[in-house]
Symmetry: C2
Subunit: 329 residues, 2 copies
Amino acid sequence: MTTINDIAKLANVSRTTVSRVLNNNGYVSDEVRKRIMKIVEETGYIPSLSAKSLRTKKSGVIGVILPKISTETASRVVSGINEVVAGENFQILLTDTELNKEKEIEYIRLLQSRHVDGIILLATNINDRLISTIEGAALPFISLGQDLPGVTSIVYDDYHASVDMTNMLISQGHEKIAFIGVGEEDPSVGIERKKGYFDSLEKHQLPTNDSWIQLGDFSIESGYESMKKIVKRNEGNLPTAVFVVTDRMAIGAMEYLREQGIRIPQDMAVAGIGASTLSQYVTPALTTIDYFNKEAGKKAAELLLQQLKQKKEKEKFIQTYRLIKRDSV
Amino acid sequence: MTTINDIAKLANVSRTTVSRVLNNNGYVSDEVRKRIMKIVEETGYIPSLSAKSLRTKKSGVIGVILPKISTETASRVVSGINEVVAGENFQILLTDTELNKEKEIEYIRLLQSRHVDGIILLATNINDRLISTIEGAALPFISLGQDLPGVTSIVYDDYHASVDMTNMLISQGHEKIAFIGVGEEDPSVGIERKKGYFDSLEKHQLPTNDSWIQLGDFSIESGYESMKKIVKRNEGNLPTAVFVVTDRMAIGAMEYLREQGIRIPQDMAVAGIGASTLSQYVTPALTTIDYFNKEAGKKAAELLLQQLKQKKEKEKFIQTYRLIKRDSV
DNA sequence: CAACTGTGTGTAATCGATTACATATCATTT
DNA sequence: AAATGATATGTAATCGATTACACACAGTTG
């Protein structure tokens, strides 16, 4: 590896001058500048960013912590983040918690030790150790998807999205609306969306029923199984609609209904959340809610870059959403 | 930030001893070890990996260069890579070329300057500057998806996959088989898959026809448009099957056929490649080929880790595939 | 008992950059 | 002519770790 010292020697100058040329600051004569640049080109010299980062305390890297890499949501968000930060010559250091809370904390520390300039966390839960680890890290930090106390957060408007969707089903004349949700460890998806559903029903004085409610685990299969349970438990008196809190589980539910010859939407309307590509191309096309994940990723990146420039108070941003009505209702 | 020196001072030892404790090498008495560990815990000291990396020339980071982050293929591959490298405590530094050849080269240099321990490139093209940049980088390097000269490569068996799929269509009685491909800049997809199609037809002495051939750009829309052109140009005498080189374009093609009331598969069979989630849940379910992208990612990561341990000659691995026959044929 | 081996710890160089400070020249201003 | 300011370059400390080498002491061996 050639270093800045090698370049300096070859050009008969001090490494200070080389550094000045490379970073374009301070005074350097044109003649010397050209001489140095020529040697840099010839040798194919590439500065060590580890050394630079050690000295400057800046790495040009931002850490992203994902719950799971291979989901459409995650990849959209990362794509949005990348679009923004790449423009400012930052790279992304990716970590995947595999939905493990311990790893969330572990990775925050790891990213810190790697001197990332900031962290974007797609949080799936909230707990005290997490919060205090974030505080301890003392790094620009953005939470996406959960509102973390003390941390600038971008959240999806899960509650109102859910209310809107339920209202819409009701306005279509449905009175027996089933629900497939997830556990409460994930407050945004597990609590907010469920609350929206119940509140809407209550407001319209419609009945709820335990046998209409099931919880899945985000997978397509769990949607299938949940739907199965709902159908089995209500044979002869099926609900006429089902609101599923994620598209993937909704797709699973649809699959089961199709197998059973239960027609969508005539016998049972189905609605999801997420606006996955899948939702658009299944038959019938799935009614869903677009959360604009990529935009959220961009927003997160922009906020982070702002924070890099100047420290800010915690802020909370609510991402807009859009209900997409398709053939499944 | 507390540093190793702070710890050393607090523990009344030299930083050498602290380093020994932290890295678990050399002799340290139990008493001192405990004393140091206690202080490390209390202070929440986190070692600087920049400094470590500067000194040891190892970063614990591997660079991944993707053509596009938000595709299912990419996210599966990355997920596979991560699964393997995370187990060995490596992280992934992600870069996205947005299909720009210049950026491929730029990012190799960038990753090099960041002292990544190795690079995995999801290549979409082959050119001399790319090859020579890789050589110049003198880093453990894996190419995934294209066979790069001098670089250990994992390739999908595009040619035989394509032959198999075409053979299968022929065995179903199809004699007029249309084709939607992509440009030749991407040799694997653009050339190999096309060759397989033509060779299979030739072998079975079946006709080809320019009006049956269209090229898209990987997008769903381009599949739609290509299908449209094929249908328009062959009105009254449509081909009975269409082989599309990617699932997404195939989905687009199916959409157009559906709009036109051309029944799948009765009027026109459709086949894709990629085994996207989409392919499984569209109606009718799409016949496709599974390339086991996640496995390929894992394999790439394993090869890279091997190369980290000892330099190896170029090798070439051919990834297996599996034809998944579904309702669209 | 001299020589050796195994333990435990410290000194100081080193990795490759940045940057505060010093110095030197030259043109311009007063 | 002295003072000032702009330009150009160099010296050396510094960032936070690792590690070769040296040294001291203990126990073991022949």
